[in-house]
C-alpha cells in the first residue's frame, strides 16, 4: 500500500512539473520576438484606422475580426503586393484549401485562378460571406450575356430571378457540370416532380427524369412558352420524339433509331445527298456522332441548332486557326496603338474569322474545293468581298501558271494565306518585295 501511495505522489508531482515547464516554454517563445500585446493585428488599427469602419460591417472575415492581420499579411516586408504573406492568388487557399472539391466535375475559373477578391472582400462587407455584392447581381456582372438573355426573356424562371445559388455552387461542383449542385434533372425535379401525370403527358411519357433538361429548355429564361430554347428541331416542336427515338414504352426509349448521319438522312436527305456528292466531306460528319458533332438534336440558342456560336464551335477542332487569329488581333491592336494615328497599311487578321463567320468561305458539310472552300474558284470566293480582284489585279486564273510550281495556277492563295501569317496583307513572306521576287526573279537583289 505504501509503495503504491508513493507512486501516486510521483505521478502528480511529475505531471505538475511537466505542465510548468510547458508554460515556461510557451512564454519564452512568445517573448522571443518581444511582441507587444495585439502585435498580430490589433496594433495595426493604430495606423489603419479606416478598418474600424470595416469592422462594424455585418460580415467580417474571421482573422480580421480576431485581430489576426498577420494571418494574411507580413508586418515587415513581402515580395507580394499589400504586404501579403503569399501571392495574392494563393493567399486564400492557405486556409481555404478545399474550396474546390478534390474531384471537381466543374470549377469556377476565377476561383481556380485565385481571384477570390472578384467576389469577396477579404476584410469585411455588409453581405454574408464577405461578398462584394448581394444576390445574382454579383454573378451577372461577369456573366453579361446571360444577364442580357434574362432581361430579354419573355418567360422568366422564378428561382433564377431571385438568385443563382439555389442551383449553382459558386466555387466548384463535384457533382455536375456548369457548377451545378446536382445533375440538372435532379435539381429540376426538386420543384418539378417528374412523376406527375401532367408532366409525363407534356413529355409524351418519355422518362425524361434522368436526362438533361437543358437539351430542350433554357433554364435561365426564354421567349418561348415552357422555357423552351429559341430554336427547336422540327420533331421536338411538333412533339414527334418517335421520329428519332424508340417508343416511350420501349425498354430503351431514348435509343435512336439509327446511328450517326443515317438518323438524319430520313428528313435531311437532300442536304446529305448534296454533301455526299461532293469530292470532299467534313470528316466529323462521318463518325458515330455524325451531325451531332456540330448540331444539337433537340434545341439550341444558336441558329441551325448549332452547339455553340460558330467561332467557338469551329475552334473545338480548329483551335490552331482561331488561336492564331486571336494572337494576331492582339498584335494588331497593340501596333495600331503604338502607331498613334499613323496609317498602317495591310491587315494582319481576316475579318470573317474575327467575326466567327468561318462559313463565309468554308462549306461546313462538304465541298468540291480544297480546304472545304465554297465553290470551285478561289478567285470568285475572295471576290465576293474583295471585289476589286475581279477587275484590277495581278494576272490570275486557271490559265496563268505559277512560275514557282507548274502544277499550280495563280490565284489569291498564291500570295496570301487567309488565316493569317503574321505578315501584313496576309502574305507568307515578311515583305511584299520578298514575295514578288519569288517569281519576278530579275528584280531580286
Amino acid at each position: 500500500m505504501k509503495g503504491s501511495g508513493m507512486k501516486f505522489h510521483v505521478k502528480v508531482w511529475g505531471g505538475l512539473l511537466l505542465f510548468l515547464l510547458s508554460c515556461l516554454s510557451l512564454a519564452s517563445a512568445q517573448d522571443k520576438f518581444r511582441l507587444k500585446p495585439g502585435a498580430r493585428g490589433k496594433l495595426c488599427l493604430g495606423c489603419h484606422s479606416e478598418f474600424e469602419e470595416k469592422l462594424r460591417k455585418s460580415s467580417v472575415h474571421s482573422p480580421v475580426k480576431g485581430g489576426e492581420c498577420s494571418e494574411c499579411h507580413n508586418p515587415h516586408a513581402s515580395s507580394h503586393g499589400k504586404l501579403l504573406a503569399a501571392d495574392g492568388r494563393k493567399v486564400c487557399v492557405i486556409c481555404h484549401e478545399s474550396i474546390i472539391p478534390d474531384k471537381a466535375v466543374s470549377n469556377h475559373s476565377v476561383v481556380k485562378e485565385g481571384r477570390c477578391n472578384r467576389c469577396h472582400d477579404p476584410h469585411a462587407s455588409d453581405v454574408p460571406f464577405n461578398l462584394v455584392k448581394a444576390g445574382k447581381g454579383l454573378c451577372l456582372d461577369c456573366h453579361q450575356d446571360l444577364a442580357k438573355g434574362m432581361e430579354r426573356a419573355k418567360f422568366k424562371h422564378s428561382p433564377v430571378e431571385r438568385d443563382c445559388l439555389p442551383c449553382h455552387d459558386p466555387h466548384g461542383s463535384s457533382e455536375a457540370k456548369a457548377l451545378l449542385k446536382r445533375d440538372l434533372a435532379s435539381l429540376c425535379s426538386s420543384c418539378h416532380p417528374m412523376d406527375q401525370p401532367d408532366f409525363l403527358k407534356k413529355h409524351l411519357n418519355y422518362p425524361v427524369g434522368k436526362t438533361d433538361c437543358s437539351s430542350c429548355h433554357e433554364v435561365h429564361g426564354s421567349n418561348r412558352e415552357g422555357l423552351l430554347q429559341e430554336n427547336l428541331h422540327g420533331p421536338v416542336s411538333n412533339r414527334m420524339c418517335g421520329t428519332c427515338h424508340e417508343a416511350s414504352s420501349s425498354s430503351t426509349p431514348f435509343k435512336t433509331k439509327r446511328l450517326g448521319y443515317e438518323l438524319c438522312r430520313s428528313c435531311h436527305g437532300n442536304m446529305l445527298r448534296d454533301t455526299f456528292s461532293r469530292s470532299r466531306i467534313h470528316w466529323p460528319l462521318l463518325d458515330r456522332e455524325g451531325c451531332l458533332s456540330c448540331h444539337r438534336p433537340h434545341a439550341s440558342s444558336q441558329k441551325g441548332l448549332l452547339k455553340d456560336e460558330k467561332k467557338s464551335l469551329c475552334a473545338t477542332c480548329h483551335a490552331d486557326t482561331v488561336l492564331t487569329q486571336a494572337k494576331l488581333a492582339q498584335r494588331e491592336k497593340q501596333e495600331r496603338e503604338e502607331a498613334r494615328g499613323k496609317v498602317i497599311k495591310g491587315a494582319l487578321t481576316h475579318l470573317p474569322i474575327q467575326e466567327g463567320k468561318c462559313d463565309s468561305c468554308h462549306a461546313s458539310h462538304g465541298s468540291d474545293g480544297m480546304f472545304l472552300l465554297k465553290g470551285s474558284s478561289v478567285i470568285e470566293l475572295c471576290g465576293t468581298c474583295h471585289d476589286w480582284s475581279k477587275h484590277t489585279t495581278h494576272p490570275m486564273g486557271p490559265k496563268v501558271v505559277d512560275p514557282r510550281n507548274r502544277n499550280r495556277s495563280l490565284d489569291c492563295l498564291s500570295c496570301h494565306r487567309a488565316h493569317g501569317t503574321g505578315n501584313r496583307y496576309l502574305i507568307l513572306l515578311p515583305t511584299v518585295t520578298e514575295l514578288c521576287v519569288q517569281c519576278h526573279k530579275q528584280y531580286k537583289r
Binding site: 470528316w283 463518325d287 490552331d320 486557326t321 510550281n405 507548274r406 499550280r408 519569288q438
Partner: protein, 299 residues
C-alpha cells in the same frame, strides 16, 4: 482512360537510336509533278514506297494511282492505274503479291486493283464486330500483308489477316479528338495520331490497348494528318496546316521540326502523308502544291 504503363515500359526497353535521330535533316532531291504523258498530279494525298525504287502516288484529284520507278537517279512515272471504281484515292498500299489497295476518299471503302490497274473488288472485312459501323479513314499493310485499318466511325483500329478476316481490334483512346492516321513499325508497334490534340498513341505488338506515346505537341504541330516510322523507329509526323514535318524519337521525345510552308521546291503547302524507303529517302505528298517531293534524310 485505362491506359496501361506496361507497353510504355516494354517500348522503352527497346534499343534507342535517339542520338542519331537528333541530326536528321531533309535535303531536297526531286519534285514529281506529272506522269510520263505529261499529265500533272492533282492534290495527291497518299503515297506508298517500297525498297529503293518504287513509289506509288494516290493522285487524289485525278482519281488515279501513278507508279514511279527509279531510273538513272530520278523517279519517273511508269504506269497509271485508273478505274471507274476508284475515286479520289487518299491512301494506297501494295500487297506482296502485287495487288494494290487504295482507299476511296469519296465512297470511303478500300478498293483492290490488280497489277495492271484492273478492278478486283473491294476489301470486305470478314467477321468484324459491328460491320455496319465501319468507315475507314486510313490503313496500312505490314510485312506479312496484314491490314491495319483506322475505322473513323467506330474509333478503332481493326487488324485483318491478309485475306481480310478479322483478327482483333484496338479501341482508340477515350477522350481523343480526331484520329487521322496510323503507322505500323517493323516491330509491329501500332502508332495512332490524334490531329486535334497533337498526340501520338502506341500499342506494341500484342497489346490490347493504346498508351500515350508523345504529346500533346500542339506547340509544334498545328494540325497533323500523316504519320510514318523509319527502320530505326523514329516517327515522322506531317503537319498539314503548319507545312512541316515533326520528328519524334523512339522514346517519345520531340526531336525537332523540319521543312516549312511555301510554294518553291523544298517547301510544303498543306502536305498530307510521308513515306520513307530503304534508301533513307522521304517522299511527301505535297497536296497543296500538287506534287510529291523527294528528300534525302541525312543523319
Amino acid at each position: 482512360m485505362g491506359i496501361s504503363l506496361i507497353p510504355i515500359v516494354i517500348y522503352l526497353l527497346l534499343p534507342s537510336f535517339t542520338g542519331a535521330a537528333e541530326r536528321v535533316t531533309f535535303r531536297h532531291l526531286q519534285s514529281l509533278y506529272q506522269d510520263d504523258r505529261g499529265k500533272g498530279l492533282r492534290e495527291p494525298e497518299g503515297l506508298f514506297c517500297r525498297d529503293r525504287n518504287l513509289l506509288i502516288v494516290a493522285d487524289t484529284g485525278n482519281d488515279r494511282l501513278v507508279e514511279y520507278r527509279l531510273q538513272d537517279g530520278s523517279f519517273r512515272s511508269q504506269q497509271e492505274r485508273k478505274t471507274s471504281e476508284l475515286a479520289r484515292p487518299i491512301g494506297v498500299q501494295l500487297h506482296s503479291k502485287g495487288d494494290l489497295y487504295a482507299l476511296d476518299g469519296r465512297k470511303r471503302r478500300i478498293v483492290r486493283l490488280g497489277p495492271e490497274g484492273e478492278f478486283r473488288g473491294y476489301l470486305e472485312p470478314e467477321g468484324i464486330p459491328s460491320p455496319s459501323l465501319f468507315v475507314p479513314r486510313s490503313f496500312r499493310l505490314d510485312a506479312q500483308d496484314r491490314f491495319f485499318i483506322l475505322d473513323h466511325f467506330s474509333r478503332r483500329v481493326l487488324i485483318l489477316s491478309p485475306e481480310g478476316k478479322y483478327q482483333r481490334q484496338l479501341l482508340c483512346p477515350q477522350g481523343g479528338g480526331f484520329f487521322s492516321d496510323l503507322a505500323v513499325s517493323a516491330q509491329g508497334t501500332i502508332f495512332l495520331l490524334d490531329s486535334l490534340k497533337g498526340t501520338i498513341y502506341f500499342a506494341p505488338k500484342g497489346e490490347k490497348e493504346f498508351a500515350l506515346f508523345a504529346g500533346p505537341l500542339k506547340e509544334h504541330l498545328s494540325f497533323a494528318v500523316g504519320l510514318t516510322t523509319d527502320p530505326r523507329g523514329i516517327l515522322y509526323v506531317v503537319d498539314k496546316h503548319g507545312g512541316g514535318v515533326v520528328l519524334i524519337a523512339q522514346d517519345g521525345t520531340f526531336l525537332g521540326r523540319q521543312l516549312s510552308l511555301g510554294w518553291n521546291e523544298g517547301l510544303l503547302y498543306y502536305p498530307t502523308q510521308i513515306c520513307i524507303n530503304e534508301n533513307g529517302e522521304a517522299f511527301i505528298a505535297d497536296q497543296g502544291n500538287h506534287r510529291v517531293q523527294r528528300f534525302k534524310l541525312t543523319p
